[in-house]
């Protein structure tokens, strides 16, 4: 496949189109990275409208410009993907590692970093990158393998881990001290902008949210896995590309374990703006339609317990608050929990951690309780309508 195949209408493939992960296939698909002027490229990235693909959606150009102002800079590619329901970074790193490494080289050049690092937490990702880095004798990139925990992907925790410290959040924002942390999918997109320019990049997606994004689709679809979609694609179209729903579905988790439970609506556009309007977020695009035959209350309780256990253990409201929340959700699953207690815990958890972990987990849990309110009521009467007790949301 060549660059021509990257143009409309076959735009579904930008990031995962190389036919094997080796460098020759990479070159025949995308061509060589052209030389570029630093200032012009920063302007090009800004014009592209590229935003971070790790979950927060921060404008990439803003971050690049901020870091570029520092005298000493570092770039870290974040391929840790600590969320068990997400597989998109692993798919990208195993199928197309060179596009990520190109992006890392571009970012390093743009901010003046000499010793770029790529951080991963899984053996498969490490092996793919190790092989790819060995093929690129002309440049430096250091592979660092960090502990495979949920919280390690948080920027300040990752920086600490890469430096040999604890993989725990520090409450500081790395880019304010000259450290650029970018998700690997963001870097792959940066490599495409560097090759083909902003207007090419903007040919996919919407005006406000251009480009494509990778999603991990799980739950009640025929073919679970990682798909690339244009931002603005409807939820129904994305699900169709995964072979359609396998069951009746009322609820969908969008944005993963820091995301929100929403009513399943095939017309929902997959953009940050459309999700925000419904109180949700695209996050890192974990999308899990839940079959009516599964118990939403039990799923929420089980994953909240997992998230409580993944607290870095530093902030009291996170350590004790999430554990108490998980206890209460277990009570809900048994038909006993109280909304007053949840509201009381919410007040004591919200916005009180040094990182996004407690708020993310809180949003996941409370949106689930709200969406599954009828099922909660049935549980109180001793009834659970679920017929399939297999866990749906993955936890390690």
């Amino acid at each position: 496949m060549s660059v021509a195949a990257l143009e409309r209408p076959r735009i579904h493939g930008r990031l995962l189109v190389a036919h094997d992960p080796g460098h020759p296939a990479h070159l025949s698909t995308y061509g060589a990275l052209p030389p570029f002027d630093r200032r012009r490229m920063l302007a090009e990235v800004e014009a592209s409208g590229l935003t971070g693909r790790g979950g927060a959606g921060f404008p990439t150009a803003t971050k690049l410009n901020s870091v570029a102002q520092h005298r000493r800079t570092t770039v870290v590619a974040n391929g840790t993907e600590g969320e068990p329901a997400s597989a998109k970074d692993l798919a990208l790193l195993t199928r197309n590692p060179h596009l990520v490494l190109d992006g890392l080289a571009v970012a390093a050049r743009l901010v003046g970093a000499r010793d770029p690092v790529v951080a991963v937490a899984s053996l498969a990702a490490a092996q793919a990158l190790d092989a790819a880095i060995a093929e690129r004798a002309w440049e430096r990139a250091r592979l660092v393998v960090v502990p495979d925990r949920f919280v390690v992907g948080e920027e300040s925790a990752l920086v600490s881990a890469v430096r040999g410290g604890d993989a725990k959040p520090t409450g500081k924002r790395p880019f304010e001290s000259g450290i650029l942390v970018q998700n690997v999918e963001t870097l792959a997109n940066l490599a495409l902008v560097a090759r083909f320019g902003a207007s090419w990049f903007r040919a996919a997606g919407t005006d406000d949210e251009p480009g494509t994004a990778l999603a991990t689709v799980g739950g009640a679809v025929a073919r679970r896995g990682v798909v690339e979609f244009e931002l603005g694609t409807s939820l129904g179209d994305l699900v169709s590309r995964c072979g359609g729903l396998t069951d009746d579905v009322d609820a969908v988790l969008i944005g993963g374990y820091f995301g929100r439970w929403l009513t399943y609506d095939p017309d929902l556009r997959l953009t940050a703006e459309a999700l925000r309007a419904r109180g949700g977020a695209l996050g890192a695009r974990v999308i899990i339609p839940l079959a009516r035959t599964s118990c939403g209350v039990a799923e929420v309780a089980r994953v909240t317990r997992y998230l409580a256990g993944e607290s870095a253990g530093q902030c009291g409201p996170c350590v004790f608050g999430l554990a108490a929340l998980a206890d209460e959700l277990d009570e809900f699953a048994r038909g006993r929990g109280g909304n007053d207690r949840v509201a009381q815990l919410k007040r004591q958890i919200a916005r009180r951690g040094a990182c996004a972990h407690p708020d993310g987990a809180l949003g996941f849990a409370t949106s689930g309780l709200a969406l599954f309110a009828e099922e909660v009521e049935r549980h109180r009467r001793g009834i659970c309508t679920a017929t399939n007790l297999e866990p749906v949301l993955p936890t390690p």
């Binding site: 009291g316 409201p317 004591q348 951690g353």
Partner: protein
Amino acid sequence: MTANRELRVEMIKCDAFGYCAELLPEIIELDEWGYPIVSGEVTADLLDEARRAVDACPMVALRIARRQGRPSRSAADGRRRSQ
């Protein structure tokens, strides 16, 4: 000059000793696990007590800072450098 100050808790450092709530109950309450919840700004008449609470914290987890509405930290840095 004394207006628009607030008390910030560095939750990573805080170990729930609770001295701050003893010394400054006007704007600090403790959650059910003993960690402080700050509910108001540090007004001029509370400034001395707030400073005592900051000094009393064994974990050095408290500080008095200018209230929100200030320029972002990067903008503030830029201004400092240009001075």
